[in-house]
Amino acid sequence: MEYSFAFSAIGTDWTVETAAALVPAVRTEILELVADYDAVYSRFRPDSGVARLAAAGGRLDLPDHGAALGRLYSTLYELSDGAVSPLVGDVLADQGYDAAYSLTPKSPTAPARPWDRDSLRWEGNVLTAPRPITVDVGAAGKGQLVDLVASVLDRFGVQYYLVDASGDMRHRGRRPLTVALEHPYDPTRAIGLVPLSEGALCASASNRRAWADGLHHVVDARTGCCVQTVVATWVLAPDAMTADALATALFLMEPEHLASTFDFGYVQVFSDGHARFSTALDGALFPP
């Protein structure tokens, strides 16, 4: 696509590629959307909605799309026996992935608080926390924002587009987009190619934002430990929120436990170099 609109949002670089130039109104709306999203969910700014919840607890009214995010987290929390949880925020912060980016673990790893009525109520688009609690939507938030940007483009009648949030992407095109799957240990190489026609492809890798020895941002809420056996995942799904969340979930649980609930394709790469993939991605990896 010939036209590219680039911006930074929620801590990463974004590009929106389209066949025709975006009118200023579309660009403005996208920038307002991502700024609003950041103002609610960013753990890294003291004035955000989730920062207020972390400081004092209480009630936080999310935008309308917060309800879908809550439903997805709730489903995954159940399917993963609590491994995928919006309450890993305190674990991440304790390990140094905090608002100050101290990158220094503060305490031994501890499990996240169980997600129940006493810790966090997520009803529709309203969050209620009896006590201060850190909510982290990192597993699915970026994907949801990709979808929300795409829906702005849909609303303005933009026919073909690619929304790319540094590797998490949603595409609607005349023909499939060829996407390389980045080698987990070598950004100059790819381990396979995926044709992305319509829908989303999201990646997650344990080396992203790696910090300290063996600590990284995919945390099992049940143990507080980081996940080391899976090193990279990719998920194809109709929407980016689902693809993003499942890419994280596949670090923590078996794909077959997700298969009855979600429609998706996946690749998992393990620390010993072997890979698992679903039939939808059969042939995507380069053969040995």
Partner: protein
Amino acid sequence: MNQRQVPPLRTCCTVSVPHQVMTALAAASLLGSAGCAGPGGVAGSNSPDKTAASSSDPVTASAPDSGVTVKKYADGEYTQVGGYVSPGGNEEIGITLTVKDDVVTAVSTEPMPSNPTAKLYQERFSGGIQDQIVGVRLDDLAVEKVAGSSLTSGGFAQAAEKIKSEARK
């Protein structure tokens, strides 16, 4: 793709800290090139605390087609055994890189699963399993986008530099 077995010239020290696993793989990446991962044994010892001594001098004879440029890295196989802590306990992994004319021509890893979880992951299930991922240089591919997460950790880059300097002649 160079499939020739290069005799082990040097065995890097074996270690048991997490970043060393990453380091060995990073060396594969930063030395560059299409890795042709094939089956291959780990030349070094699996014992985490044992340091293997350097063996012979590096082979310096150039390959017939290598031209006149000076090589930065000694040809040979480099092996490391690394350990890491997974949620299921300690695991080890052996990694062997073959360097030829400043290019990594082969990468092989040997899992040494010591706990049931790691073994479980090796069981087959519907879909498919590939024993080894294979990297192809992005420069050699016609792609429009890349999905992944480029390495950003400064510590990782530093560790990789150390391995590069070890292989440097």
